[in-house]
C-alpha cells in the first residue's frame, strides 16, 4: 500500500471511479449520529423541543388567557375547565404558564445565541489582532466582569423611574442587560482557544502556504472552535433562563404585567401553602427546561469533543502507530470495565512445566495482559517468558504497541485494575502476580525499581527533589533517622552526578533540566539497592548528549548496586552496548531472543532483520537504501491465526498463516553458544529461521529500493544555482524571569549571525541539541519579513524586497514545509482532498486541475488515490507524514523545509519515509533543509551539514567530511554520543561524555560559547584557555579545497580524560 516503487495498478484504475466518487460523509452527519447515540441527550432535546412547541401552541387548547379573570373560579385547584387551576385573582394558570414559558425560552434563546455570537466576534478579534488591541479589549472585558451585573439589572429594570424605559417591556430590558453581561466568559475562552489554534501546526502550514489570514480564520479557526460555540450556546441558554428566573423571583427582573416562569414562581411564594399549584407547576416547568438543556449539553460535548473519554478510546484502537510515547498511555487510558482476573496461574504453570532456573533473580513465564476497550478485548501482551540473572542486563526491543511497556508495568504491578494479567512473575522465587497492591508495595521501590520515560512529568512538581528521594527511603526504612536519610539522599544525588547535591536537595523538579530530572529518577530508583531495575525508554525524551550521560549514570548505578537491569527501548543503538541479552517483541509477543551478539549479527527472524536494516547508521558513509517494513503492526483486538508478522513479511508463504509459530531454539547455535550457560538461548519465532542464518542480506529480503540518483549529483555544487541563502541572520529574544512578575534579565541569542546557502538538488541539514537554535532558524526562514535582522534570499528574492503580497507569494511558492508531528500538521476537520487542495486553491488553480494534481500527488507519495476522501485520523502516522509531504510538494516548490520529519515515527515506518524523501529529491530535483536531532538520519540523507551550538554554526561542510573527520570538539562529542546498533563496536569505542547541560544563554562566555563544556578546553593549559575565553573563534575552512569549516582555535587539542569513557568488554558486569 505504501510502496513507492510499485504503484498498485488497481489504485491507478480507481482514478476514473474517483471522478464521480466525491461523496464524503459530512462531518455534521458524524456528529449528529454520535449525538443520537447518546440517549440522555436525545431525551433532553425532545423535552426541550416539546416545551418550546407547547409554549407556542399551548394557548390554543384553552379558552382562557393570562389576563382574563374568571370570577367564579378564584384560587381553584386544577380542574377540567382550568387544567392547572387558577390564581388568587382567578386567572388561569395554564394560560400564564404557556405565556411564561414562552418568554423564558425566548429570553434564553436570544441571550444564549446573541451572546455567543458577540463573544465569538470579540474573542476572535482579540486573538487575531493581538498586541495593543488585545490588551485594550481585554481590559474592557475584565472591567465588565468586575461590575456586579445584578445591580445593573436592577437599575435598568427598576420601577420604570426613568421615563424612557417605560415604553420598553421589562422582558426586553432584561434581555438587553443580560446580553451585556453574559458574553465575557465565552469571549475569553474563544480568545485563548483561537490563540492556541494559531500556534497549531496546521494553521502554521496554511500561513506558510501564503493563505490569507481571513481565510485561515474562516477555514481553520472557526470550524475548530465551532463545537465550543455550540456547547456554549446551550450553556448560555441555560444560564440566561436561570438568571431570568432568579432575578424575576426576587422582583428585579421581569415585572408584572409581563409574565415569565420567574415571575410566576416568585409571585406564588406567599401562597405556597394555600395555592400550592401556583408555585409547583411553573417550578416544574423550569426544572424540565434547565434539566433538558443540561442533558443536551452533556450529549453535545461527547459528540463534538474528540478528546472526550468515549471517543478517545475508540480512536485508540484505530491507530496502532501512535506517537512513540503513546503506547505507555494505553494502559492508563483504559480504566473501565472491571473483570475478574483469572487467578489460576500457578496451577496452569505447573501443568505447563515451566520452572525458572533457581539462580534467576527475575523469572517471567507466559505473561499475558488483556485490556477491555470499547471495541473489545485488546490482548496487549501474549506470552512473554524470560529469566534475568543477577547483575545482567536484558534489552527488550520493540516498536509502539509491541507490548514492551505493558510488560514492564505488569511486572511492577502498576497496570490499572481493569487489566487482566496472567502468567507468572517471580522475584527471587517469590510469585508477584496476584499480590494485592499493598503486598506489592513491599517489593516496589525496594527490590524492584523502575525508571520511566518522561522525566519532565514523572516527578511531583510540588515537592522538592529531596523530599521525593527521602520518601522512597522512608517507605522501606521506617526506622531510619532523618539525618541518615538526608545523608543517603545526598549520597544518591552525588552518585547520579548532580553537582552540589546538598543544596540541590531543596530544589524543585522544575528547577532541573530533563536530563537532571532523569538522574533524580534514577537516584530514587536505586535508593534501596534494588535487585532488579526496570528502565522504560529512559533516554527517549532526551537529547543525544544527555542520553549519553544518563546511560552512563545507569551504568554506574548498576555497578554500584549490582542490580539486574531490564532496559526497554525502541532504539537498537541504546541497548547494543549495554545489554547482555535481547528480546525483540512484536504484536505483544517475543519474536526473537538471545545473547546480544546473536541478535545483532545473526538475526533469524525477518522482523529483527528488518528493524536492523531500517536504522540508518551514523558510522557508515557508504550510501544504501534503508529497509522499509511495509504495512502496520496488527490490531491486537483480534488474535492472529498465523504469524503476526506475516502480513508485512516479504518471505511469508501460506505455511506462515497456519498457526502462530512458537519461540523455539535456532538450529546450529544452541550447542556452542556461550549464552547457553546463562540460559540466553537464541530463539526465534519463525518457521524459516533456519534458512536465514549467515550470509542472507536484509536488503534482498526486504527489496530495499535502489539508491536514487539525482540529475544534479553529477554537476559540481558551485555550478548549481542557489535556492536559499542566509546572510548574517540574527534573532534575539528578551529573556524574562518569573511566572507572575516578568522582568527582563537578559537576551537569548537564539540565532546569532547565521550564514549559509543551499544549492539545487542538495539536502542541507542543521544539527544540534535542543536550544541550539535549529527551530528558530527554520522559523526565521519560513516567516521571512523585511524587518528581519539579516537577509534571507529565497529563489533570488530577498526578504528585504518582500514588502508586497505578490513578491511574498512568489517566495512562498518556492519554499514549503513538512512538520514534525504529522497529526498536528493536518487539520482534523479536513479530508485529505481538502488538505491537498488548500495550497492549490491558494495558487489559483481551477477545480479539474486541482483534482488531477491531487491524484498525481497521492501516487507520488505512495498513497492510494481513492483514499482522498478520508480524514487524517483514518491513516497511520507514516501515512499522515506522506500526506504532509504531498501537501508541501503540491505547488512544485524548489526547497522543502523538513522539521524533524521522522522523529515521531516508528523505526520501521521511518525507513519508508526517509526512502521516499530521498527518492523525491532525486526525481523532482528538490532541495531540502532538514532539521533533525538524529544524526544517523542526517548522515543518511544529507549532502551538507551544519552543527549549531547556542545560535551559532560551529562546524559546517560536506556531510561525509564532517562526520568522518569532525574538527570542532562539539561535533566530535555529538557524534560520539550516538549509540550505534553494533554491540562489539559499542563495547570498545571511546566516548566523549559532555558534562552538564546546554548552558543558559546568560552564562554564555565572551569568547567561545562551548568553552564551558569543551573537553579540549578542559585539558588546555591556562595560557591557552585564556584565548578561548576572550576571543570568539571565527568559522574558518579546515584545509584547502575541502568543503568543511569550523570555529575552534585548538581542534587538535588533547581531550580531557575525565570526559572520556570506554566500556571494556571485561569490565562489563563480569559474572
Amino acid at each position: 500500500m505504501t510502496n513507492l516503487n510499485a504503484v498498485d495498478p488497481a489504485a491507478v484504475a480507481q482514478d476514473a471511479h474517483l471522478e464521480s466518487a466525491d461523496v464524503v460523509i459530512g462531518k455534521t452527519t458524524i456528529i449528529f449520529r454520535r449525538f443520537l447515540r447518546n440517549k440522555t441527550a436525545v431525551a433532553g432535546l425532545a423535552i426541550f423541543l416539546a416545551l418550546t412547541v407547547f409554549s407556542f401552541i399551548g394557548g390554543f387548547f384553552t379558552q382562557w388567557d393570562k389576563e382574563t379573570i374568571d370570577p367564579f373560579n378564584i384560587g381553584m385547584p386544577p380542574s377540567a375547565d382550568h387544567y392547572l387551576g387558577t390564581s388568587q385573582a382567578g386567572i388561569d394558570l395554564y394560560a400564564m404558564t404557556v405565556e411564561g414559558t414562552r418568554i423564558s425560552i425566548l429570553i434564553g434563546l436570544v441571550v444564549g445565541l446573541v451572546s455567543v455570537l458577540v463573544a465569538a466576534v470579540y474573542g476572535c478579534t482579540m486573538a487575531y489582532f493581538g498586541g495593543k488591541v488585545d490588551k485594550v479589549m481585554l481590559f474592557i472585558l475584565e472591567a465588565l466582569i468586575m461590575m456586579p451585573a445584578l445591580l445593573v439589572v436592577a437599575v435598568a429594570t427598576s420601577g420604570g423611574a426613568a421615563g424612557l424605559k417605560r415604553d420598553l417591556p421589562s422582558w426586553l430590558l432584561l434581555i438587553i442587560v443580560l446580553l451585556v453581561f453574559s458574553w465575557m466568559g465565552t469571549a475569553r475562552l474563544i480568545r485563548s482557544m483561537s490563540m492556541s489554534l494559531m500556534q497549531r501546526d496546521f494553521v502554521k502550514a496554511a500561513q506558510y502556504m501564503g493563505v490569507p489570514p481571513r481565510r485561515i480564520v474562516w477555514r481553520h479557526l472557526v470550524p475548530n472552535i465551532g463545537s465550543l460555540l455550540i456547547l456554549d450556546i446551550t450553556r448560555g441558554v441555560t444560564a440566561a433562563i436561570l438568571a431570568e428566573v432568579a432575578f424575576s423571583f426576587i422582583g428585579i427582573g421581569i415585572k408584572v404585567p409581563d409574565v415569565s416562569l420567574g415571575v410566576l414562581i416568585g409571585g406564588a411564594t406567599s401562597q405556597v401553602q394555600t395555592f400550592p399549584w401556583m408555585f409547583w407547576v411553573p417550578l416544574t416547568v423550569m426544572f424540565l427546561l434547565t434539566g433538558s438543556l443540561a442533558m443536551m449539553n452533556d450529549g453535545l460535548r461527547d459528540a463534538f469533543d474528540p478528546s472526550s473519554r468515549l471517543h478517545r478510546q475508540s480512536q485508540e484502537g484505530q491507530s496502532p502507530e501512535n506517537h512513540r510515547g503513546k503506547e505507555d498511555g494505553m494502559s492508563s487510558e483504559i480504566t473501565t470495565g472491571a473483570t475478574e482476573p483469572a487467578r489460576r496461574d500457578v496451577e496452569r504453570l505447573h501443568v505447563a512445566g515451566l520452572h525458572a532456573p533457581g539462580d534467576a533473580v527475575l523469572s517471567v513465564r507466559d505473561l499475558q495482559v488483556r485490556f477491555n476497550s470499547e471495541n473489545g478485548t485488546v490482548h496487549a501482551v501474549r506470552g512473554v517468558d524470560f529469566d534475568l540473572m543477577p547483575g545482567k542486563t536484558l534489552g527488550i526491543v520493540g516498536e509502539s504497541g509491541s507490548g514492551k511497556s505493558v510488560t514492564s508495568l505488569a511486572i511492577m504491578g502498576l497496570l490499572p485494575p481493569a487489566a487482566q494479567v496472567s502468567g507468572s512473575v517471580r522475584l527471587k522465587g517469590r510469585e508477584l502476580l496476584g499480590l494485592s497492591d499493598k503486598a506489592m508495595c513491599e517489593y516496589r521501590g525496594n527490590e524492584l525499581a523502575m525508571v520511566f520515560q518522561d522525566p519532565l512529568s514523572s516527578l511531583t512538581p510540588v515537592f522538592t527533589v529531596g523530599t521525593q528521594i527521602i520518601e522512597a527511603l522512608t517507605i522501606h526504612n521506617p526506622a531510619m533517622s532523618r539525618t541518615a536519610k538526608e545523608a543517603r539522599a545526598v549520597e544518591l544525588l552525588a552518585m547520579v552526578g548532580i553537582p552540589s547535591p546538598k543544596d540541590r536537595l531543596k530544589a524543585f523538579p522544575h528547577e532541573f533540566s530533563g536530563g537532571m530530572r532523569q538522574r533524580v529518577m534514577i537516584a530514587i530508583a536505586i535508593a534501596n539497592n534494588p535487585r532488579v531495575l526496570i528502565a522504560d525508554e529512559p533516554t527517549t525524551a532526551l537529547d543525544v548528549t544527555i542520553q549519553a550521560q544518563v546511560l552512563e549514570v545507569l551504568h554506574t548505578a548498576q555497578e554500584e548496586t549490582g542490580a539486574a537491569v531490564v532496559m526497554i527501548t525502541h532504539d537498537l543503538g541504546v541497548v547494543a552496548g549495554m545489554a547482555d541479552d535481547i528480546m525483540v517483541m512484536y504484536a505483544g509477543k517475543p519474536v526473537e531472543s538471545g545473547a546480544v551478539d546473536d541478535i545483532y549479527y545473526n538475526p533469524r527472524m525477518p522482523y529483527t532483520m528488518g528493524l536492523l536494516g531500517a536504522v540508518p547508521r551514523v558510522d557508515v558513509a557508504e550510501k544504501s537504501s534503508l529497509v522499509p517494513i511495509e504495512g502496520m503492526p496488527p490490531n491486537l483486538l483480534h488474535t492472529p491465526t498465523g504469524c503476526s508478522f506475516a502480513p508485512r513479511c516479504p518471505l511469508a508463504s501460506d505455511a506462515c498463516l497456519d498457526g502462530e509459530p512458537a519461540l523455539v531454539a535456532v538450529a546450529g547455535t544452541a550447542l556452542h553458544s556461550t549464552a547457553v550457560d546463562n540460559g540466553a538461548l537464541h530463539r526465534a519465532a519463525c518457521i524459516k529461521s533456519d534458512s536465514l542464518g549467515g550470509a542472507v542480506d536484509v536488503h534482498d529480503v526486504f527489496a530495499a529500493p535502489p539508491v536514487p540518483v539525482s540529475r544534479f549529483d553529477a554537476i559540481p555544487r558551485a555550478e548549481r544555482s542557489t535556492v536559499l541563502q542566509l546572510k548574517d541572520v540574527r534573532k534575539h529574544f528578551p529573556l524574562t524571569k518569573g511566572a507572575l512578575i516578568k522582568r527582563t534579565i537578559g537576551t537569548v541569542k537564539a540565532v546569532d549571525g547565521l550564514s549559509f546557502d543551499i544549492r539545487e538538488g542538495e539536502c542541507f541539514s542543521i544539527v544540534g541539541e535542543s536550544g541550539s537554535g535549529k527551530t528558530t532558524t527554520l522559523l526565521e526562514i519560513m516567516e521571512f519579513h523585511p524587518d528581519q535582522d539579516g537577509e534571507v534570499v529565497i529563489g533570488g528574492l530577498s526578504n528585504k524586497q518582500a514588502a508586497d503580497a505578490k513578491t511574498k507569494g512568489r517566495m512562498r511558492r518556492e519554499l514549503q514545509m513538512v512538520f514534525q508531528d504529522p497529526t498536528g500538521a493536518l487539520d482534523p476537520r479536513f479530508t485529505v482532498y481538502e488538505v491537498l487542495a488548500e495550497p492549490l486553491q491558494n495558487a489559483g488553480m481551477d477545480r479539474p486541475a486541482i483534482r488531477k494534481r491531487i491524484m498525481e500527488l497521492m501516487k507520488l507519495v505512495g498513497l492510494q488515490p481513492d483514499h482522498v476522501n478520508r480524514f487524517p485520523n483514518q491513516f497511520s502516522g507514516g501515512q499522515r507524514q506522506r500526506i504532509g509531504i504531498a501537501r508541501a510538494l503540491a505547488v512544485n516548490p524548489k526547497l522543502v523545509v523538513l522539521d524533524e520529519p521522522v522523529s515521531a515515527l516508528d523505526v520501521s515506518v521511518q525507513a519508508g519515509v526517509i526512502n521516499l524523501l530521498d527518492h523525491l529529491r532525486a526525481e523532482l530535483g528538490l532541495s531540502y533543509l532538514l532539521v533533525a536531532h538524529d544524526l544517523s538520519v542526517v548522515r543518511h540523507i544529507s549532502n551538507r551539514v551544519a552543527v549549531m551550538y547556542l545560535g551559532k554554526i560551529v562546524e559546517i561542510g560536506a556531510v561525509d567530511r564532517v562526520f568522518y573527520n569532525p574538527r570542532h570538539p562539539y561535533t566530535r562529542a555529538l557524534l560520539s554520543a550516538i549509540p550505534v546498533p553494533d554491540p562489539q563496536l559499542e563495547r570498545t569505542r571511546e566516548r566523549i561524555i559532555l558534562q552538564g547541560d546546554l548552558p543558559s544563554p546568560l552564562q554564555a562566555p565572551k569568547g567561545c560559547n562551548f568553552a564551558t563544556r569543551c573537553p579540549v578546553f578542559a585539558a588546555l593549559p591556562t595560557a591557552k584557555q585564556e584565548r578561548c575565553l576572550s576571543l570568539e573563534p571565527p568559522l574558518e575552512p579546515a584545509a584547502s579545497a575541502t568543503d568543511q569549516q569550523f570555529a575552534c582555535f585548538f581542534p587538535d587539542g588533547e581531550l580531557d580524560e575525565d570526559m572520556l569513557v570506554v566500556h571494556e568488554p571485561a569490565d562489563n558486569h563480569a559474572p
Binding site: 466582569i145 468586575m146 445593573v152 426576587i250 510540588v462 522512597a472 511566572a739
Partner: protein, 327 residues
C-alpha cells in the same frame, strides 16, 4: 513581588474607577429620588423637595456631570460617599451592613469550601461508583436551580419542620429576636436564626467546588508522577493522597482564594430571601429607594472585593505551586 503587586493594584484601581464611574452615571440618570419624595403625604411642594435634595447633595437640577464632579470631590477630599435621600450617611451605614453580610456568609462559605473539596476528593476516589454518581448528580442538580429558589425551598422545608414539630425551632428570616435575654437563650436564638440561611447557602454552594475538585483530582490520578510514587512503594491510594491531591489542589486553592473576600460582600439573593439587611440587600433596596449614592457605593465595594479576590488568587497560586514561586 511588590512591584508586581503595585502594577496589578494600579490596573485594578483604574478598573474600579471606571466601573464605579459608569455605575454612577447609570444610577444618576435613571434613579430619581425626587419623584419618590413627591409621593409622600402630605405632599411636599417641588421647591421643598428640591431644597431638601440640595441639602443632601442630591440636587436634581444639576447635570449628571456636575453631580459626578461634586460626588467625586467629596470622596477624594473627605472620603465622603454622600447621603441617601432619607438623609442617612453612606459611610455610617456601610460598616453595619458589611458586618451583617460577613456574619451571614462567614460560616456558610467556609462550610461550602470544606464540604465541596472533601466531597470532590471522596467522589473522585470512587469514580463511577454509586456514591460518586449520587454526589456528582446532586452538584449538577444544584447547578440547574436558581439560587434564590433553592434558598426558598430550604426555607419552606424549615417551615414544614416547624409545623410538624408544632413549635418554632428555626427562624426562616431575620438575624435575631429583638430584646432577647443575653446568655444561653441568646445563643439558642442565634443558632435558630443562623441555621436555615447557613444550610441553604452551603447546600447551593458546594456543588461547584465538588465538581472542580473531582475533575482536577481525576486529571491527576493517572499522572506520571503518581505512577512514580507507586513505583517507590506507595499503594495507589497513598500515592493519590500524597501526590495527586496536592497537585490537584493548586487550581482549587486559586478559586478558594478568589471566593474568600466574598464573605464580606454578602449576596443579593440570600440577604433578600432571609431578610438580613447586609450589603447585598442594601444594593437592591437602594434602587427601589432611588438612592444613587448607596447604589454606587455598593457597586464600588463589589468591584473592590472582586479585585481583592483576583489578587488573593494570585497569591494563593504562588503559595501552593512552587513553579510560579518568585525568589
Amino acid at each position: 513581588m511588590l512591584k508586581y503587586l503595585a502594577k496589578r493594584g494600579i490596573t485594578y484601581v483604574v478598573m474600579i474607577f471606571l466601573t464605579t464611574t459608569a455605575g454612577y452615571f447609570l444610577a444618576v440618570s435613571s434613579l430619581k429620588p425626587a419623584l419618590l419624595e413627591q409621593e409622600r403625604i402630605p405632599r411636599p411642594t417641588p421647591e421643598q423637595v428640591a431644597n431638601s435634595m440640595r441639602l443632601k447633595g442630591l440636587d436634581p437640577a444639576l447635570s449628571p456631570w456636575e453631580r459626578y464632579v461634586d460626588w467625586l470631590t467629596g470622596i477624594v477630599t473627605r472620603w465622603d460617599w454622600g447621603r441617601s435621600p432619607n438623609g442617612a450617611y453612606i459611610n455610617a451605614e456601610f460598616g453595619d451592613r458589611v458586618w451583617i453580610s460577613t456574619r451571614l456568609f462567614l460560616a456558610s462559605i467556609i462550610l461550602t469550601l470544606v464540604i465541596g473539596v472533601a466531597l470532590g476528593v471522596y467522589s473522585a476516589a470512587r469514580q463511577y461508583k454509586f456514591q460518586d454518581r449520587v454526589i456528582t448528580s446532586y452538584s449538577y442538580l444544584a447547578y440547574i436551580v436558581p439560587a434564590p429558589i433553592a434558598y426558598f425551598l430550604v426555607q419552606l422545608g424549615a417551615i414544614n419542620i416547624n409545623e410538624a414539630v408544632g413549635d418554632r425551632i428555626f427562624f426562616v428570616t431575620g438575624i435575631s429576636t429583638p430584646g432577647i435575654a443575653p446568655g444561653w437563650a441568646q445563643f439558642v436564638d442565634m443558632l435558630a436564626h443562623y441555621a436555615v440561611p447557613t444550610v441553604a447557602i452551603t447546600l447551593v454552594g458546594w456543588g461547584a467546588y465538588q465538581i472542580a475538585q473531582r475533575q482536577y483530582l481525576l486529571d491527576n490520578v493517572n499522572a506520571d508522577f503518581v505512577r512514580t510514587a507507586r513505583a517507590k512503594g506507595l499503594t495507589r491510594n497513598q500515592a493519590i493522597a500524597r501526590h495527586a491531591l496536592r497537585v490537584s489542589f493548586i487550581p482549587v486553592a486559586q478559586s478558594i482564594a478568589f471566593t474568600i473576600p466574598a464573605i464580606f460582600a454578602g449576596g443579593f439573593f440570600a440577604e433578600k430571601i432571609f431578610a438580613w439587611p447586609g450589603v447585598g440587600s442594601w444594593s437592591i433596596d437602594a434602587i427601589s429607594l432611588q438612592d444613587v449614592n448607596a447604589a454606587t457605593a455598593t457597586l464600588a465595594y463589589g468591584s473592590v472585593i472582586f479585585a481583592l479576590g483576583a489578587i488573593l488568587a494570585d497569591f494563593a497560586t504562588t503559595l501552593v505551586d512552587p513553579r510560579v514561586r518568585v525568589q
